[in-house]
């Protein structure tokens, strides 16, 4: 230590310090840029470069007409930069994309791509910019969720559009909230994180992943229990009940009335 303090007034001390400083900044900068590069590089976390390349090929062939060659968006479709892998998982995984036709909103249909292709597309879209990722299995495990709490969250956050029983409901101008019966857990989750069609985004600050899992647990529990009182009539409430009594109920009654009075006339 003594040597160091003695030499601090050495003519070359300044140069050495400068050199050290430059090395440090340069090194840090180099390290920082490589980190940066790793993120912005065309291979997002959890995907391989092959998947991205394959995804891009699929994208150009199937999606670019509306979303643009570089997914920058056109008049017919929005930009996909930053929508994340979760959006692809939801839109392509449920068959909504590629879209069958323009309309108030994309219709669900049998998926056009298999899981492998969907993942490749997701990898490509994720490589365009940071966005919501496909959730880990941990958050989709309904056994860890609390259905009662999920039910409460569902009624507060979701039931106003999706109906208390998840049967779906109408929105303005021909748009609608679809039924949630039979929807896969991963799609319920990604719908919440990405807000497809007219749905608002429920990000992790709004509804933490644990709560999302509770909601999924509620929906799955509800699905399994069936309808305790008999045929559910579409879970639509008083309208379908009224319809039943005015059709089946009235028909049975009139039938029996006509039968009872048939002899005399």
């Amino acid at each position: 230590m003594k040597a160091l303090s003695q030499k601090r007034r050495h003519p070359f001390a300044f140069v050495a310090l400068l050199l050290l400083g430059l090395l440090l900044t340069g090194g840090l900068y180099a390290a920082a840029t490589t980190v940066n590069q790793a993120q912005a590089s065309n291979v997002p976390d959890g995907y391989s470069a092959d998947q991205v390349d394959e995804g891009e090929r699929l994208f150009v062939a199937n999606c670019a007409t509306c979303h643009g060659m570089n997914a920058e968006g056109t008049d017919a479709g929005p930009s996909l930069v930053g929508v994340g892998a979760a959006s692809v998982e939801f839109q392509v995984g449920t068959g909504r994309m590629p879209m069958q036709m323009q309309g108030p909103q994309a219709q669900q249909k049998p998926p056009q791509f298999n899981d492998e292709q969907t993942t490749q597309l997701a990898a490509y879209v994720a490589s365009l910019g940071a966005g919501p990722a496909v959730p880990d299995d941990e958050w989709l495990d309904v056994d860890q969720g609390d259905p009662a709490r999920g039910g409460e969250l569902f009624r507060i956050n979701c039931a106003m559009c999706h109906n208390a029983a998840g049967a779906g409901g109408a929105l303005t101008e021909g748009k609608y909230a679809p039924s949630l019966h039979g929807v896969e857990a991963v799609h319920i989750y990604t719908a919440m994180t990405t807000g497809p069609q007219n749905m608002p985004v429920f990000n992790d600050a709004n509804i933490p992943p644990e709560d999302k899992r509770d909601i999924i647990a509620f929906l799955k529990t509800y699905e399994q229990q069936g309808s305790p009182g008999g045929f559910s009539l579409g879970y639509l409430g008083p309208v379908s009940e009224g319809l039943l009594i005015w059709t089946l109920g009235l028909a049975l009654l009139i039938g029996s009335m006509v039968w009872l009075t048939s002899r005399s006339s």
């Binding site: 029983a165 509800y222 009182g229 879970y235 639509l236 309208v239 109920g249």
Partner: protein
């Protein structure tokens, strides 16, 4: 006819005292009769004759479904606790466990999941209520379109209207009891409508809810109304209604041998006692079948009441649908013009919620019109006669058309109550449905009126055609000369009777009053009268009929002529 009014001699009294029945049943019957005197009642009531027609049975259905609803409701009261005190749910329905809720909701859930047969009874109660009001409505439509409300039955029509309103009240209070989100939404609408009433609205709301909505009082209060006051009133009015039916005797459709002075049918004892008794069990069977197979009001879906959420698909039961629909129909703004009007007052202005108040006008008018219709029609037509023979709806074209017009208006309001489900299930735009319904609300009844009236008149002309020339038999004949003609089959005597026996009154001009003056009101009445009777199709007269037969009479139609000659004695239109 009533033996009880005659005087008996002392010997006859003694004979009654000494009477010894031979059989066991006879002994029981005699024991009861000597103590309560049922013979007179049974003799009087048991001989009451009722005509037989399937459309006459809707009132019966209403009565039976009311009884079934009362019975199943009594079962529910053993478990249901109409308290708004909070509890933590610990019953067997997993997705609600641990949630805070009112005792009312918790016990309704207990009834559904933890009481043996509770869910079935709840569903039976609810389906029964839907059927009760349905049967009342269809019964009322039958009475309206056949003109059974005319003199002397006007007051009984009013009792029927009151029963319908009470039924709606009983239904709505029941819908509100379980205290989940759906029923709370319904009460919130009632709260909003009350508060829309200028000046006193807020007070009325606070009185009803015992403070600001939702408060802690409303469920127990509705419960008292639902299980005590409303059913008691309904029961009393049913008694009055049935008593009047017996007093007036039942109406009947026109037919051979049926006149304004008789009733053709079967007596209560034994035919109707058996039929009606059996029919009760048929109605019960149908309701039990529906209650056992179709889920109704799955209240575990909605969650404990919380004033903040309103869920998609939140609707009232069908009979409150028009009230809901007319609110959905009403715009809050027309263009940029807000329909909410703030009355400037020294204390800062009172808001007048016209978008809530205006929709109540058509509904109120329909119900008011229902009550006073018999007098309105009698005033317009000037008809002061008693009517025991019913109209076929086509033979009263204006009434039928008016009725269908009001029904159309009701149906549009009703449909709008489910506009969201119409949108999703028919792939339509919710907005378009609403806009079109607004147009149809005004235009629909007019179209329905014109169409119905034309259809009625066309059917009457068809009746004339059939009475005069018979049914087209679908057999084409070629004459030796080469001419083609279609064979006609003359109607049977029974059919002919129903085709020709009606009255088609002509418009009557304005009549001067006692002072010899024709008032403006009378002029208005005569204008309505002209509108009422202007378009009319006369029933076939006897002369017309015989002339037509003469015309057909050449060749193969001799059998028809014979029939007509034999009919000469009974003669259509003279059969009193």
């Amino acid at each position: 006819m009533s033996a009880s009014k005659e005087k008996y001699t002392e010997a006859q009294y003694l004979e009654v005292d000494q009477y010894q029945p031979k059989t066991r049943t006879g002994r029981i019957a005699n024991y009861v009769d000597t103590r309560v005197g049922g013979t007179g009642m049974i003799r009087e009531f048991g001989r009451k004759v009722f005509p037989d027609h399937w459309t006459f049975m809707f009132g019966e259905v209403a009565l039976y479904s009311f009884i079934i609803t009362v019975l199943s409701g009594a079962f529910l009261t053993f478990w249901f606790d109409p308290s708004m005190a909070t509890t933590r749910y610990s019953g067997s329905y997993a997705p609600l466990q641990g949630l805070e809720m009112s005792m009312a909701y918790a016990t309704a859930l207990e009834l559904s999941f933890d009481v043996r047969g509770g869910l079935f009874m709840r569903q039976l109660h609810h389906w029964g209520a839907l059927l009760f009001i349905l049967a009342m409505s269809v019964h009322m439509l039958r009475v309206f379109f056949t003109g059974a409300f005319r003199k002397p039955r006007e007051l009984n029509w009013v009792v029927g209207c009151a029963l319908l309103i009470l039924g709606l009240g009983a239904g709505f209070t029941g819908y509100s009891l379980p205290d989940e989100v759906l029923s709370g939404n319904g009460l919130r609408i009632i709260d909003g409508m009350l508060k829309a009433i200028p000046v006193v609205g807020t007070y009325i709301s606070f009185f009803l809810f015992g403070g600001e909505f939702p408060g802690n009082e409303v469920i127990p209060r509705l419960y008292t109304l639902h299980i005590f006051i409303l059913p008691a009133l309904i029961l009393i009015l049913i008694a009055v209604h049935l008593f009047m039916v017996v007093t007036h005797k039942h109406t009947q459709y026109p037919g051979p041998g049926r006149t304004e002075r008789n009733v053709v049918g079967y007596p209560v004892g034994p035919v109707y006692a058996a039929k009606a008794g059996g029919f009760f069990f048929i109605v019960m069977g149908i309701l039990c079948l529906i209650a056992g197979t179709f889920q109704i009001n799955a209240l575990w879906n909605y969650g404990p009441y919380d004033p903040s959420p309103v869920q998609a698909g939140a609707q009232p039961d069908w009979y409150i649908g028009p009230f809901e629909g007319v609110l959905r129909l009403m715009p809050g703004y027309i263009g940029d013009f807000s329909l909410e009007w703030v009355i400037p007052t020294p204390w800062g202005g009172n808001s007048l919620a016209l978008p809530v108040l205006i929709p109540m006008i058509p509904v109120a008018l329909i119900f008011l019109g229902l009550f006073i219709w018999p007098w309105i029609e009698a005033w317009i037509t000037g008809d002061k006669k008693e009517h025991h023979l019913l109209d076929r709806p086509r033979n009263a074209p204006t009434r039928t058309a008016f009725g269908v017009a009001v029904m159309t208006n009701y149906l549009i309001m009703w449909g709008m109550g489910s506009n969201d489900l119409i949108a999703t299930h028919f792939g339509l735009s919710l907005n378009d449905i609403t806009y079109w319904s607004r147009v149809l609300f005004f235009l629909g009844p007019v179209i329905a009126y014109i169409l119905t009236k034309r259809i009625c008149l066309a059917l009457q002309r068809k009746d004339r055609e059939v009475a005069l020339h018979g049914h087209e038999a679908g057999v084409i004949e070629v004459s030796p000369e080469g001419g083609f003609s279609e064979k006609h089959k003359l109607p049977s005597e029974y059919e002919l009777w129903s085709l020709v026996s009606y009255e088609a009154a002509a418009p009557s001009g304005p009549r001067p009053n006692a002072k010899g003056k024709v008032t403006a009101m009378e002029k208005f009445r005569s204008r309505l009268n002209r509108m009422w009777f202007e378009d009319r199709v006369e029933p076939v007269s006897r002369e017309e009929y015989l002339e037509a037969l003469e015309h057909h009479g050449h060749g193969e139609h001799t059998e028809g002529l014979e029939a007509a000659q034999s009919r000469g004695e009974i003669g259509p239109g003279t059969g009193h």
